[in-house]
């Protein structure tokens, strides 16, 4: 199971992503710069957190139009796994690989703290967790307020595509949504950071089963 981590100017969690992947038993991922037009032969692509292109225009907007994102879309179209965390989630919505948009936190504050979440139902990324498992992942975001039209929200709920929900809504997200998958279930976007909850020194290892689900 080989993997790649996409790096934009302003990404800052790519090494945390790589460490979480190796701690879960994956081989060290290839870091892929945003100007690349092709991905190496991989099964899993992670889009890490950070502030790609300084969040100019909208968070993730410029990054989503990068050359590498065409290759990521092709990979997802072939059924390859894609995980976008935080800014990576914003990039995936801007790239229309996931529906909806992530807007400014309702309280206007940058949120930087551990957040309690519920794993909604086991999927390709979460089958190592029990149903309705409770986890704590750290969050660090200013634009995590998930918005989608009523039809989209109904579809996400009805198709079981809400992967993670906040147990105490910190940012105004519709339906307490912290993470969603695409229709095929091979693309996951998530605001809090599972890759920063994989070692005892992090204060929580709740994120490790997510990476073990991918590499198991």
């Amino acid at each position: 199971m080989r993997s790649a981590v996409v790096v934009f100017p302003g990404s800052n969690r790519e090494r945390d992503a790589a460490r979480a992947i190796t701690l879960a038993g994956g081989p060290p991922p290839t870091l892929v710069w945003h100007t690349e037009t092709e991905l190496p032969k991989v099964d899993f692509v992670m889009i890490p957190g950070g502030f790609a292109h300084g969040d100019y225009l909208r968070a993730g907007a410029i990054a989503a139009r990068s050359p590498v994102m065409r290759a990521v879309a092709d990979h997802a179209g072939r059924g390859g796994l894609v995980l976008g965390v935080c800014n990576g989630f914003q990039v995936l919505t801007e790239a229309r690989l996931l529906p909806g948009a992530l807007m400014r936190n309702a309280g206007l504050k940058f949120i930087c703290k551990p957040l309690p979440l519920a794993v909604e139902r086991p999927n390709r990324f979460t089958d190592r967790y029990g149903r309705r498992a409770k986890v704590v992942f750290p969050a660090a975001h200013h634009d995590g307020n998930y918005r989608a039209d009523a039809d989209t929200l109904r579809r996400l709920e009805g198709d079981g595509r809400i992967a993670f929900r906040y147990r105490a809504n910190p940012n105004g997200s519709a339906n307490d949504i912290a993470g969603i998958t695409n229709g095929k279930g091979n693309v996951l976007g998530l605001m809090p950071h599972p890759e920063n909850a994989v070692e005892d020194i992090h204060g929580s290892t709740d994120g490790l089963p997510l990476f073990q689900s991918i590499f198991g």
Binding site: T93, G100, A101, M103, A106, L108, N145, R147, A148, G172
Partner: protein, 80 residues
């Protein structure tokens, strides 16, 4: 040809920055404000000289990048 693109949140989309502006205006004693909504303006200088072609091109720019039509709408003013 110059174009000004005005991007605003769709009605019904919560605008926390607009709410903060409302609160600040109210605290300054401006009691006559029902609501405030914040948007952005992007000024473009185009090589196009023909208005219809220019508008069509800027619309494509809005759809491709400038606006996120999930939550935003855009308005284009041309200034030949």
């Amino acid at each position: 040809m110059k174009a000004r693109v005005i991007i605003t949140l769709k009605s019904g989309v919560l605008d926390p920055q607009g709410k903060a502006i409302e609160g600040a205006l109210s605290s300054l004693g401006f009691d006559g404000v029902h609501s405030a909504r914040q948007g952005k303006v992007i000024d473009l200088e185009l090589t196009a000289t023909e208005p219809d072609a220019a508008r069509e091109e800027v619309e494509r720019m809005c759809e491709a990048l400038l606006a996120n039509t999930v939550v935003e709408r855009y308005h284009i003013d041309l200034n030949p």
